[in-house]
C-alpha cells in the first residue's frame, strides 16, 4: 500500500493520491469542466496541474475566439496564482488546428508541458489528434494537458478529470484560496471514479485537500489494485 493510502485509511490529512501517485506517469491528461459554467475552474485547475507537474517550459496554446468567451490570460493574476511568468509562453492561435499544432511543437522539447485549450465544437477532438499528442509526449519525455470544452469523445488520454469550482470555506464573506471539486473519470493506470475537494496552494505550487473537509472523501478503491499498474495507452 502506498504511504499516502495508508494515511488515507487512518483518516489523516494527506497529500491527495491524485497529485502524487498517478500523475507522474500521466503524459496526456484531459481536464474537463463539469458544466460549461465551470470552464474558469477547469482553466485554473489545469494551470495548477501544469505548475505542479512541470519543471520546464509551459506552453499555453488557445484558439483566439476563446478569449471572447472566457477572457485572455492575465499576467498579474497568473503571478498571484503562483506561476513563474518566465516559464509561461502564451500562444494565441487563429483556430483550433493551429492551437493543436502549437501544442505538438511544444511537446518536442523534453521536459516541457503543453497546455492546450480545446474549444467547443460539434464533433469534438478526434482520437487521432490526441494519439498524436500522446506519441509525441512519449517520444520526447514531455507532457500534455488538454482543457476539453468540447464534447468528450474517444481519446488516448491517460487521465481524465472533471472539475467543478468549489465554494470557499472559512470565515464568513471571505474568499479562500482557489478550490476545486475534482472527479477522476478515467484512469489508465488504475481505478477511477474517485473525487476530491482540493485547494490550490500558490506558495508551494501544489494541491492540498481543502481544510474544512471533515469526512474522508477519498475512499481506497475497493476492487482496484493498491499499486497502480503502469499500462501503455491503447
Amino acid at each position: 500500500m502506498l504511504h499516502q493510502d495508508r494515511r488515507a485509511a487512518n483518516g489523516e490529512s494527506r497529500t491527495p493520491p491524485i497529485a502524487s501517485a498517478h500523475a507522474p506517469g500521466a503524459l496526456l491528461t484531459e481536464i474537463a469542466p463539469a458544466s460549461p459554467a465551470d470552464a474558469p475552474a477547469a482553466f485554473g485547475f489545469a494551470l495548477g496541474w501544469a505548475l505542479a507537474h512541470a519543471n520546464g517550459l509551459i506552453l499555453w496554446a488557445a484558439p483566439e475566439h476563446l478569449e471572447a468567451e472566457h477572457g485572455a490570460p492575465y499576467a498579474e493574476g497568473l503571478a498571484q496564482f503562483g506561476a513563474d511568468l518566465t516559464r509561461i509562453m502564451c500562444v494565441r492561435a487563429a483556430n483550433q488546428t493551429d492551437a493543436l499544432w502549437t501544442a505538438e511543437q511544444g511537446l518536442s522539447i523534453p521536459g516541457a508541458l503543453a497546455l492546450c485549450m480545446v474549444a467547443p465544437s460539434p464533433k469534438g477532438l478526434s482520437l487521432t489528434a490526441t494519439r498524436r499528442l500522446l506519441l509525441l509526449a512519449e517520444k520526447h519525455q514531455s507532457r500534455c494537458v488538454l482543457v476539453r470544452l468540447d464534447p468528450l469523445t474517444a481519446s488516448a488520454a491517460w487521465l481524465r478529470l472533471s472539475v467543478r469550482g468549489a465554494p470557499s470555506q472559512g470565515a464568513a464573506r471571505e474568499l479562500g484560496p482557489p478550490a476545486f471539486d475534482v472527479r477522476l473519470t478515467r484512469n489508465r493506470m488504475g481505478p477511477s471514479g474517485h473525487s476530491w475537494r482540493l485547494a490550490w496552494n500558490a506558495h508551494d505550487n501544489s494541491f492540498v485537500p481543502a481544510h474544512a473537509l471533515d469526512g474522508d472523501l477519498v475512499q481506497p478503491a475497493p476492487h482496484g489494485p493498491a499499486q497502480p499498474r503502469r499500462v501503455r495507452a491503447i
Binding site: Y74, M89, A202
Partner: protein, 447 residues
Amino acid sequence: MALADARAIYPALDARPADPQADAALLDQIAAWCERYTPIVVIDAPHRLFLDISGCAHLLGGEAALLKDVKSRLKRQRLCLRAAIAPTPGAAWALTHAGERESVDENHLAEALAHLPVEALRLDTSAAALLKRLGLKRIGQLCDAPRAAFAARAGQNAMLRLDQAFGRAGEALTPRRPPPPLYQLRKLAEPIVTLDALMLVTQDLCESLCQILDEKGFGAQYLRITAFGVDMRLHQIELRLSHSERCPKMMVRLFREKLEREAERFNAEFGFEAVRLDALETSPWILRAVDLAPREAIYDVESEARLIDRIAARLGHARIGKIGVRDVHAPERASAALTNASLDAPAPQDGVMRRPLTLFARAHPIDAMASVPDGPPLRFRWRRVQHIIVRAEGPERIAPHWLRASDAKTRDYYRVEDAEGRRFWLYREGFYDGAEPPRWFLHGLFA
C-alpha cells in the same frame, strides 16, 4: 524672382506654400519605384536621383531603351523630369543641368562637357560666380586653365567636381537601401515553378550562406529570400529569428513552414529565374558548453528559442510571447507582451488572489443589485444567468489616469463568489450621488 513680380507677368499664377518634407517623401517614393531598374538608387536631395545602371541596362534592351522607359513611365505619372546617362555621376548631373544631350559615352565625354556652363559642375553659387567673373563660362575653358591657380582661388571643390565629372577622382554614393552584408545568389538555367524546386534552391542557398557565416563566426537573425520572376516581379519571404542561427537545416525548415503557409499568395506565374538569400541582420555566434550531466531537468534556452521561431514562422510573431506585468493601475493595461513589461512579478505574501486568471478585453456590462449604495452586489445577471453572491471582498478603488482618460469614471472592484463557488471580478463605475446611476461590469474570472 519675387512672387509679386511673377504675378505681374502672369496673373493666373497658382502659388502654393513650399513643403520640403512632402517633396522629400515623394522623392523617396520615386527612388523606391526606380529600384525596378537597379538595386542602387541614390537620393541627391532636394530633387535628384542617381541610378547606378552598370550591368542593368541590357535587361531593358540597352541604355537608350532604359532611358526612354524611365522617362515615359514617369511622364505618365505627371512628373516633369530631365534624365541623362553618362559614365560618371558628375557628368550625368551636368547633362541634366544643361538639358541638351541625354546620353554620352566615355569617348565623347570631354567633348560633350566642354561647352556646358560651369554651373553644371555642382559648384556652390559663390564659386560659380567667381569663375564667371574671371571669364571662365564654359567647362572647356576651365579644363585648359592652369589648375593650381584656380584651386587657390575657387577652392578645392571646383577642381574636385571637375575631376569627378571626368572620372579622374572617385565619388562614393550612398544607396537608398544599403546592400545586405551577406548574400547568396543563384541564377537558374531554367525558370523554376514548383515549390519543391524552390525549396531545393533555398536549401542550397542556406548551406552556402551558413558556410560563410561559419567562417566569420556569425549567425543570422533576419533573413530574406527574394525570388526573381521571369515577368520581372519579385517575391519575398522574410524570416526573423529570436536567436542567431547558422544551421542550414533549421533555416530550411522555417522557410518551408513559411512557404507552405503562403503557397497560395506565392504565385510563380511563369517561373523564377533567380533566387537570392540575404542575411539582413547578423550577430556573433556564441558557443555554449553543453552540460553533460545536468542535475535537474531544466529546459535549455536554445531549444526554447527554436520553438519560438518555429511557431512564429507559421503563426506570426504577434501570436506568441511571454506576458509580463506593467507597473500601471488600470487593470486592462497592466498585462502586456514582453517588450515593455516585467516578468518579475512576485506573488503577494498573504497568498490572496487579488487579480483574476483571465481578463476580458472589454468588461461585460451586467445587471447587478447592491444592498447598500457603496457595498458589493447581492446578485447579478451575466449572460442571462442569475448569480446569487454569497461571499464578496472589496472594494478596491481604481481611479482613471488623470491625463490619459480624464473623462473615465472611478471604478470600485469587488471579488465575489456565487453559491456554486464560481468567482468573478466585478466593478462599479461611478458613484450613486452623481446624476447618472452607476453601472456594473464584469471584468475577469477567477479559478
